[in-house]
């Protein structure tokens, strides 16, 4: 089997990378981390997969259509949280309205976690879309001509 070491390594690394992405994702409220970083790490796992198994295999697992939907839903998650706080009577992104009775601003946590989740989804799918489109182009010149 071709590139056996790379493939096995990828298989081993794939899950920890996703796990790390989730770790960074859910530490976005009070620590270093959050949606931007988590999204990129999340996308990295799939990009690694594409490197070792080929783009077509990755596209089978995560088709472009799904990425577009994830991008949209991610952004809607973000602005949706904002609109929800408006409907709850606060200003845009006034997270305290999510849990108004909390004495220690629990609403701020819920709010930022929701927003970061949206950001994470959006960033991950955008990064993968960029990758798909750059690598999916047909090279129309010979390697020697570069």
């Amino acid at each position: 089997m071709e590139r056996l070491i790379l493939r096995v390594t990828t298989k081993l690394l794939f899950a920890p990378i996703i796990l790390f992405a989730l770790y960074v994702q859910f530490h976005g409220d009070y620590g270093p981390g959050g949606g931007f970083q988590a999204g990129v790490i999340f996308a990295v796992a799939f990009i690694l997969h594409a490197f070792c198994y080929g783009l077509d295999e990755t596209k089978k697992a995560v088709p472009q259509k799904a990425l577009t939907v994830a991008m949209v839903i991610g952004l809607l998650f973000y602005v949706g949280t904002g609109v929800a706080t408006m409907l709850l009577g606060a200003n845009l992104l006034g997270y305290d309205s999510i849990d108004p009775d909390s004495t220690h601003h629990a609403g701020q946590h819920y709010g930022i976690l929701l927003v970061e989740w949206g950001v994470g989804m959006c960033v991950a799918s955008t990064m993968m879309t960029i990758f798909y489109h750059f690598t999916g182009r047909e090279p129309d010149i010979n390697q020697e001509d570069w």
Partner: protein, 503 residues
Amino acid sequence: MNFAEQLPVLPIITPLVMAPVTLLLPKGRAPWAWATLASWLTFAACVFLLREVSASSAGFISYHLGDWAPPLGIEYRVDLANALVLLLVSGIASLVFPFAYRSVQLEIDERQSSLFYGALLICMTGLLGVTITGDAFNVFVFLEISSLSTYALIAMGARRDRRALTASFNYLVMGTIGATFFVIGIGLLYQATGTLNMADLHDKLAGNHSRVVDAGFAFIVVGMGLKLAMFPMHLWLPNAYTYAPSAVSAFIAATATKVAVYVLIRFLYSIFGFDFSFMGSAFTFVLLPLGLAGMFVASFVAVFQDDVKRMLAYSSVAQIGYMLLGLSFATVEGLTASLVHVFNHALMKGALFMAVACVVLRAGSHSVEAFAGLARRMPFTTWAFILSGLSLIGVPLTVGFISKWYLLQAAFAAGHWYAGFLIVASSLIALLYVGRIVEVMVLREPAEEGKYAIPARDAPLSMLIPMWIMVAANIYFGVNTELTGEIARRAAEALMMVAGGAP
């Protein structure tokens, strides 16, 4: 939810929520209809906002994002000056979106049409955000949101002409340098004051004379100069406007540079104010001469263009010269003239580029030859072009006349009598380049064969109606100056008061 309280954020959040949804809609009419709806809702919100602001006793409405009080939190601060620009941007959008359908059908790949409308909505969101925000760094963020979508939109013109790609690339490089300069400027101001809120910056900069602030001022003026295509920094603009899809040209020509002019006004008057040491010299040695030079050089170059869109693009650079001229007088009259011209120029350029889009739809080209004998084949489009062209020259009863009248008054009142003559002289050049196209349209025989032989059919109603609304606005605001003139004067007075009177 209290509608009145949430009003200031609605122009931003409405298109922002609706833009991503366009990607999920089925191909065909749906994305267009959805985007049009979004632009109309936004326009409605902006109209309400203008009414609210002009009725408010404080003269401005402040909205705190996330309930964080300024100067720490991000503030949306709407006063008359930006309410006017908001109305302008959303108004143009609400006409361009319905107009775009047929033009986009022709010029954009159907698979990309939902992306196109999404990007156009995001672009509008960015421009509105730049206008509405009261936070200096937020300006940068929104500016880049609108710029990035503009780069993509311009590049979509590559389906018709591959030069759109290089035009977009050059715009990207120049625009990014401009934006980065702007960020450096904001960083320097932050270093000197420790705040990013515009009102707070103004307070803390008062009496704060240091080289850091001076450098920040220079970076911001140069950065914004690149974004608004101030005369020697306009090189990205002609190609970008020429090769962009017609509907995009109509939208960005009418709004993007105007918003950048607004940002410059906001920074000069609301943040730095007149007790800032470089202010006077910036006006006398930078904005005034560059404005005058732009008026002449760009107009002169426009005369020799063989491409109507490129000609209009150079004319845009010249018109930006008028706006800079007005604000460099540093008087209420000058600032009023500048704001009025921001509004009026958007109306005339919007109408002109829409007319060109109609010609492109039927004749398939925007070179001067394609316009030959158009009066007989597309009379409605031709008359729309002629009327808005007259407005560009500044013929009485059109908006162009109003802006030039205000500008002349301001020039004489400020003692720059020579500028007054130069304004008239450059209007004569405008007569030359518009007249040249009109001559071709009306007097030249239409081509019977060859690639410009077009069927004797006018543009579809879906394009004619928005275009004629725009032309009607050109005449309406030319006759009835109450709305623009009055609001612009009050806005200018408020800005002047913040800035601290004449130097």
